[in-house]
Symmetry: C2
Subunit: 308 residues, 2 copies
């Protein structure tokens, strides 16, 4: 094992990502010491009970003291305020990062409040579950998952980027770097829009008076069940994602509606060839994902595994 | 173990469901003998090679001879023709069933061609994977999954329904009975509409020139990956589902679009409360599914299991 990457890491916000980071750092000894802070006293108490962080602090200012890496793990909408709170207490030369699902809005909210003697290196680990809160984390969350590093601008210190990349790699991730606007578009396609669509479909099912909730629940085995898993994610986090990635979301939803209307028209007019061609094309993307190792293809569909 | 439920079962069509039925019947000795037929000679050869069915026949007529249960496992659009082919060869007193994903259209297509001396008991096992073909089946597919029995009309023989229910229960399913029109609406909500929406979203991703296919594939970990799994299902089967459940599909898509536009408007106008309330409500349905045992809730989201 190599030694610690950072001497003191401060985790601001103690939800799924922060708690998973703590256990992943612990697993491989990547930080000399990890401090943590959460706004809610209840969350801090829980963290202390389960040994989450070496020290749980009662203020963000205390948590960031002497830290050479500070990671903002709060919802995107809370980042600006928390940055204002910690800015006067940051150590010169420290790196400030985050784990937000959108990057342009975070850069705009956080960047202006940081002193010029710290490095700002936003990041986004593409990993999550439907669970949230301090007890939801586990060391393996980032294993074999991508973490996108999105430097705030072209002048970002290369050493600071390299060091943060090293931490994420040692926490199990594959690391890539990307421009903020491009990140927000790519993630809108692969994550944000699918989440909104899943939320919508689950809401429709819930509204439909002629189909009982118990029927929806019992007969969810194919299709709908995956939607409910997606649609069970943290409401505050996702509200902030959509409010802060508005342009890309509206663009992708516009394209989605256009395509959906074309398929709807094919159903109405009985155009089976259109449907068959479309459904054949989408199969190819799935094959690509299997080949890229982002999912597994097993004959029994994982039925014997714990997930199903 | 109890003895066979049927003396001779004929499986017409040898894809995922039929092959899983064979292995499930084999597992518990539920049929004295199982014959099989597939239109494609290649499929029949494959079936013979892997020991799928006790006898693979070269015609549907031969396969149904002396069978006391015949199960139509072909796409919904092919059911009428296959019924015409087998009708003159059915044994008096036999039960004809199917496994189609829509039921009103199957009843209308199959019912009129059957002789009056056989029982017609349509069924729909709510189980599937993204795979298709004779090699995709496995004995556990139906374990703990629902199978909906949808009697063609009120005069359906109660003993024939009870016997088919017994078979499905002994293949591992939970069995419920339902009226055809209600079945088609419930399944539209829980399966058909979610599939169409997943197909659409995957198509949008594929179309978007500014996001490379490799980016979509690499960064699919949350959200999009589940959509691609759904959207990789058999194109012919799904084309037929939508063409044969047109009314319910168009109704649900109408409601879906309405809800989506309301969320889209909330994003555009920055109405965070609307989004948060909606996302909170959808979480409750997920809890219901976990409590109903239709999925499992594990802290590491199944990450260590084979599926992820």
């Amino acid at each position: 094992m190599s030694g610690p990457v950072y001497n003191r890491v401060a985790l601001i916000g103690l939800g799924l990502i922060a708690s998973s980071m703590f256990w992943a750092m612990k697993r491989s000894g990547l930080a000399g010491e990890v401090t943590g802070y959460a706004r809610s006293a209840e969350t801090r108490d829980t963290a202390r009970e389960i040994g989450l962080c070496d020290h749980v602090c009662d203020s963000a200012a205390e948590a960031v003291k002497d830290a050479d890496l500070i990671v903002l793990c709060v919802p995107v909408g809370a980042m600006e305020q928390v940055t204002k709170d910690i800015a006067p207490h940051l150590m010169a030369g420290a790196t400030v990062s985050d784990v937000g699902s959108v990057k342009r809005a975070v850069i705009d909210a956080v960047g202006p409040h940081l002193p010029s003697n710290v490095h700002f290196v936003p990041a986004h680990p593409l990993a999550g579950t439907e669970r949230s809160g301090p007890t939801s984390g586990f060391a393996e969350l980032f294993d074999n998952r991508w973490c996108l590093i999105v430097p705030a601008d072209e002048n970002t210190d290369a050493d600071a980027v390299a060091k943060l990349s090293e931490l994420w790699e040692k926490m199990g991730s594959k690391v890539d770097t990307m421009d903020a606007d491009h990140h927000d578009l790519v993630l809108c396609v692969t994550s944000h829009a699918p989440h909104l669509i899943a939320y919508t479909m689950v809401g429709v099912a819930d509204d439909l008076q002629r189909v009982s909730e118990q029927e929806v629940i019992n007969y969810s085995a194919t299709g709908f069940r995956d939607f409910t898993r997606i649609a069970a994610s943290d409401p505050t986090m996702w509200r902030d994602v959509f409010l802060n990635n508005k342009e890309a979301t509206l663009e992708i939803l516009g394209r989605f509606t256009e395509e959906l209307f074309a398929l709807q028209r094919a159903i109405r007019t009985g155009d089976g060839d259109h449907l068959h061609d479309y459904f054949t094309r989408t199969r190819a993307i799935r094959r690509g994902i299997l080949e890229a190792g982002q999912d597994v293809d097993v004959p029994n569909f994982g039925r014997n595994a714990t997930k199903d």
